[in-house]
Symmetry: C2
Subunit: 310 residues, 2 copies
């Protein structure tokens, strides 16, 4: 089944530690593009192999189609290499997904992370296959590299193994990977063993070491916004005796905000680390943490003993 | 609490039998606008007080932002009175919802049916309030009339009674109604008794008679695409002894496709009634019924004894 796909170290499949970049917004809820660009540069300097702007953690689905395209252009114009970008481009409607995807490919992005259409529920594999086939055919660009975005806890619509196999067989070299944010080790393990060479990214930071050791491509985790240097060390030293300890430190960081909504919590941590309260702003339907929540969070963070970048 | 809202028969609140209009598409998945316009005229002639283009049954979330705006303009240009329209305009991102909503208001639509932002889950009332407040303030048009679209089985994000009260109090005369597609009589009953005079539409056809007798505004049901004349008779004769029998007939029609996906099934019924197989087409992620499903459906329809319009 796999002979039509190139090996896992082919340059066409992205690998490494990717951050679903937080999107700074101003008090008036407009995107703070300058801050976003600076932050993106910092993430790449601090260990990320690449970035996934407009992932779930990026509040992507709270930004309009036009905003997303304009911002992506600004990011690349500011020197973030398109070769290191895998932006989220999946929307509910095929024409909107095609628009975002074609735009990202045209800008040179090495991959796109594509949600399934997520409004309607109880959707069949046939329907999802047809939706992805339409998007791929309409984009019609040989440079297109699709990473399937499997995140049933949020999208409620996901990818079965049978559907993934069908998409790989129909579009070899185009459907090249997946981000598994199911938070289900059994699913991730099944992906890693069923589709060797497929670009499999764990969406759960706690499976990072296991994913790497089983030949996965890497990770796309919210925590990378803060602890990319630690994740990068783990990536580089995954066969060393220290790797388990690094994985435990990653897990410990995630525990810091386990009882809070992840996006407002991560932005609060950024505000704390940068000493800049503007980092707290989130777009509705999210709200900023309360003062009490923020104080508890920072206390947790300091008690965790996790080494944080300056 | 209610004194800032006008009475239930105020012209500012829409009333009656509304259809979430099916959207005909061609084999190439493009919208068949001419057929859609003809069908919309037919629905108004056959008993609908008004139409909700781009509701859930319309496959609204499978149409792109640009498509939706262009189609709405064509519908109104073709003579469908904007005063009888309550299009769906809710998207995940505030800028997209603002764009669709402002456009509909500018075209003269009497109301808009607005989904909450539905990608992110476990959203708080505070966050949803903030999202709706942003939309209303940004549209900034005195003609705006918002109907909240409560459909947790699909959107997974809904409106609590406390949130509804808060929105009504903050935006009296702007937040004027709700479509309750929770399929939960207890919720609908609570709405009808807590918010008398609010424009409450049942999204479940089986609650139509109860909704009307308790002072609700009317209904927005998928079944209206086929049995609007029956629903209209029930509306006109809701106090008569025959009303229960009509409600039973409505319920019997819904049973015809209870085991099938509703949108492909309704389009199959349209294809049957019109003798026109092109009516079957649906956009992905939906798929057309199989031949076996279609045959079973039409057998059910004929066995139901429901009187159908020519």
């Amino acid at each position: 089944m796999r002979d039509h796909l190139s090996s896992s170290d082919s340059p066409q499949v992205l690998r490494g530690i990717f951050a679903p970049t937080l999107t700074p917004v101003r008090a008036d809820l407009s995107p703070d593009v300058a801050r976003w660009i600076e932050f993106s540069h910092r993430l790449l300097e601090n260990g990320c192999h690449g970035l996934c702007p407009f992932g779930t953690t990026s509040e992507a689905n709270s930004f309009g189609l036009d905003e997303r395209m304009e911002m992506l252009e600004q990011l690349i114009d500011a020197g973030i290499p398109a070769a290191q970008l895998m932006p989220g481009t999946g929307a509910c409607a095929i024409p909107d997904t095609v628009r975002l995807t074609a735009h990202a490919v045209k800008l040179g992005c090495s991959g796109v992370l594509v949600l399934p259409p997520f409004y309607y529920k109880a959707i069949t594999d046939d329907g999802l296959f047809r939706a992805f086939a339409e998007v791929i055919e309409r984009v019609g660009d040989a440079r297109l590299r699709v990473y399937l975005y499997h995140i049933p806890p949020v999208s409620q619509v996901g990818f079965s193994l049978a559907l993934i196999e069908r998409l790989i067989q129909a579009y070899p070299g185009v459907v090249v990977g997946i981000k598994d944010s199911s938070a289900d080790w059994n699913n991730l393990h099944a992906l890693l063993t069923t589709f060797p060479g497929f670009g499999i990214f764990t969406g759960s930071e706690r499976f990072l070491l296991q994913t790497l050791r089983l030949g996965g491509a890497g990770s796309i985790n919210a925590v990378a916004n803060v602890i990319a240097p630690l994740q990068r060390r783990l990536y580089e030293q995954m066969q060393s005796p220290e790797a388990e300890g690094m994985q435990e430190e990653v897990n410990r960081f995630r525990q810091v905000y386990k009882d809070l909504p992840a996006i407002p919590a991560l932005k609060q941590i950024m505000a704390h680390l940068r000493g800049d309260a503007d980092w707290r702003h989130v777009r509705p339907p999210f709200v900023e943490l309360s003062d009490a929540q923020a104080q508890g969070l920072i206390a947790n963070l300091e008690a965790s003993g996790v080494a944080l970048p300056a």
